[in-house]
């Protein structure tokens, strides 16, 4: 970046806009001065903001109408601010779907899958990436293929088998199924990460007399922890957002996850505008909060994985 100042005149001539670099007010002083500060950049920014605004419209509409009474909605429409805060929609949704129960169900299922699938991925990848067992390319390929399979191609037998073993309408069926589906991806990713694991570290541990089990937990596990935490977070979010298999497997209100419970209320006459909007709002909040908490971990983990 330091060389930029030297090329300033040339860049100005060949740049994007002809509206010179005359404006003295530099908003980003540490960046080089080779970029134009003309009106074009404001126009482009305005366009990008417009796209962002268009993306946000459904969320804005949701926020505006989540706490607006039905009478207010009928009189003033969807784009006005609520004339007074109305919480009946939220209360109505909360009690009708028994939201705390659904929240616990979603957290339990997603959490169990995140931990279980990461553990299975680690064991698989230990054998494939570090153990380099025979035929590992085929095995990894099979896992990758499984990850691409449409769930429809598995669902009826899974439904049938779950009924046979008494796991139908039981959260364990969903947990077991997603542990396998997510770990198929995790095995693929982690195998390639672990295949570049420094051999010298493993050899040193082996020389110290560590068994394979000890090497896994005392050497491989701590070192690959950033990648593993990314997997845990991904698996949690993916499972949280899953819809098809929970819809088929969990028919009972008491076992359902948030998305399935919300969808099952669709078309219900009692679902007025504030109920739907407040319901959508609290249903998406956990995912958004989770995303913001772990955004840093995700970026850090991804770069850590990339550097390896």
């Amino acid at each position: 970046m330091a060389t930029n100042s030297a090329v300033l005149p040339g860049a100005g001539a060949g740049g994007i806009s002809s509206t010179g670099g005359a404006s003295p007010s530099a908003t980003t002083p540490r960046r080089g001065t080779r970029f134009q500060r003309g009106p074009l950049r404001w126009a482009i920014l305005a366009l990008a903001l417009l796209v962002a605004f268009a993306m946000m419209i459904p969320f804005v509409i949701m926020l505006l109408n989540a706490f607006k009474s039905p009478a207010d909605y009928a009189a003033n429409g969807p784009v006005s601010l609520p004339s007074s805060l109305y919480f009946d929609g939220l209360v109505n949704f909360w009690t009708r779907v028994n939201f705390p129960e659904k929240l616990v169900n979603s957290i339990w299922i997603s959490g169990a899958v995140a931990i279980g699938a990461t553990l299975v991925s680690l064991l698989n990848a230990y054998a494939l990436g570090i153990g380099r067992i025979r035929g590992r390319m085929w095995i990894v390929g099979a896992f990758l293929l499984a990850n691409m399979l449409p769930q429809e191609a598995l669902i009826y037998p899974l439904y049938y088998l779950a009924k046979q073993v008494g796991l139908y309408n039981n959260q364990w069926s969903v947990i077991i199924i997603f542990t396998v589906i997510q770990s198929a991806f995790g095995t693929y990713l982690l195998s390639s990460v672990l295949s570049t694991f420094p051999p010298s570290v493993l050899e040193a541990a082996a020389l110290d007399g560590a068994s394979k089990w000890q090497v896994l937990w005392r050497v491989v596990f701590p070192i690959s922890r950033p990648t593993l935490s990314v997997l845990v977070i991904f698996f949690f979010i993916w499972t949280w957002n899953e819809f098809f298999i929970p819809l088929v497997m969990l028919i009972d209100n008491a076992t359902q996850t948030i998305p399935v419970a919300l969808a099952s209320l669709q078309g219900d006459r009692m679902m007025d505008a504030p109920t739907i909007n407040a319901g959508s709002l609290i249903s998406l909040l956990p995912a958004v909060i989770f995303f913001f908490i772990f955004q840093r971990t995700l970026t850090r983990g991804i770069t850590a994985g990339a550097v390896k």
Binding site: F35, A48, A127, P150, V180, P259, A263, V288
Partner: protein, 318 residues
């Protein structure tokens, strides 16, 4: 257990430094056992059961009756089946083509233009905004959109009537002419953030000196985009188009919550069509045949993609 590896095999193993651990290679198999058993029970067995069911007639009770390829011949004559796959193409347009092109443009503008002319936080904030629809459960997004688009009480039509545009207040999801375009717009909204994030990460990988050199040569923004950005982010473009195409072929949740495949099947897609046969109609064999065809298409598309990618990599001599 076969632990003694022939020299030819060993030479193919990338790093030749693993001689010290050769003795215990067999032990590693044990770590694959839990994963393999689970994989067998949840993927392999159900997959072959489904394949078997696709050759039977079975209402879900009693014994499946073997009918050979009747389900498949019936499929070929079933208009809904063909319609559902034509709708898959619309889904690919809405979930792959448009988001990839739009995402590439947005990522380039954010990274290459706004990121360099404004504070870096501007670009990150915009990126987060574009990505927001991606993190919600798709069923929740569908419920929200379903309400907004409701013909009588939905926010869009109430608003249109309010400002006197009653004639525009259509039955967006209920009319055969508007249903699919409306679903496609919702899917673009859901999908566009994913390519933006991936492409922005890809652009960080590109050596800035390339751009500087091109700029010195007098290349404009679009010329640089075409000559540098596009070729440099090719691997990510492959990943995005492959994963999005698979997602588009498998799409279920949004269709379920927005339209249930209607009106008159104009938004029906293969996965929803097979679900309809499995559960509401209890035509398990027929549903299994649809799912099998969908699986074959997904696998073939993936193989074609991966082949094309490695061919283009070889051509460039990477």
């Amino acid at each position: 257990m076969v632990t003694t590896s022939a020299p030819s095999v060993r030479s193919r193993r990338a790093a030749g430094v693993r001689t010290t651990r050769r003795s215990g290679r067999g032990v590693y198999w044990a770590y694959l056992v839990p994963g393999a058993l689970l994989f067998l029970a949840v993927i392999v067995v159900p997959f072959f059961m489904n394949l078997y069911l696709s050759f039977t007639k079975w209402p879900g009770l009693g014994t499946p009756r073997w009918i050979g390829i009747d389900n498949y011949t019936r499929l070929l004559a079933d208009e809904t089946f063909w319609l559902s796959f034509r709708n898959s193409i619309s889904m690919i347009v809405a979930m792959v083509v448009v988001p990839t092109l739009l995402g590439m443009l947005l990522a380039a503008v954010l990274f290459d233009y706004l990121g360099k002319r404004f504070n870096g936080n501007v670009a990150s904030a915009l990126r987060a905004t574009y990505y927001l629809p991606q993190i919600l459960p798709v069923a929740v997004a569908g419920i929200l959109w379903g309400w907004i688009l409701n013909p009588q009480t939905g926010a869009l039509n109430v608003f249109l009537r309010q400002i006197g545009l009653d004639s525009l207040a259509l039955n967006w999801l209920g009319d055969t002419t508007t249903a699919m375009p409306t679903v496609m717009l919702v899917m673009i909204w859901v999908q566009v953030g994913y390519p933006v994030v991936i492409f922005m990460a890809a652009l960080q990988r590109v050596d800035p000196e390339l751009y500087e050199a091109a700029e010195l040569d007098g290349a404009g923004w679009f010329a640089r985009f075409k000559a540098i950005t596009l070729p440099q982010i090719k691997p990510e473009t492959f990943v995005v188009t492959l994963t999005c195409t698979i997602a588009a072929l498998k799409v279920f949740g949004p269709i379920y919550v927005l339209t249930k495949g209607g009106p008159e099947n104009t938004t029906n897609v293969p996965s929803y069509f097979s679900y309809q046969n499995f559960f509401p109609k209890s035509q398990v064999g027929y549903g299994a045949a649809i799912a099998t065809v969908l699986t074959i298409i997904v696998v073939v598309v993936s193989i074609v993609f991966i082949r094309a990618q490695s061919a283009s990599e070889r051509k460039e001599g990477i």
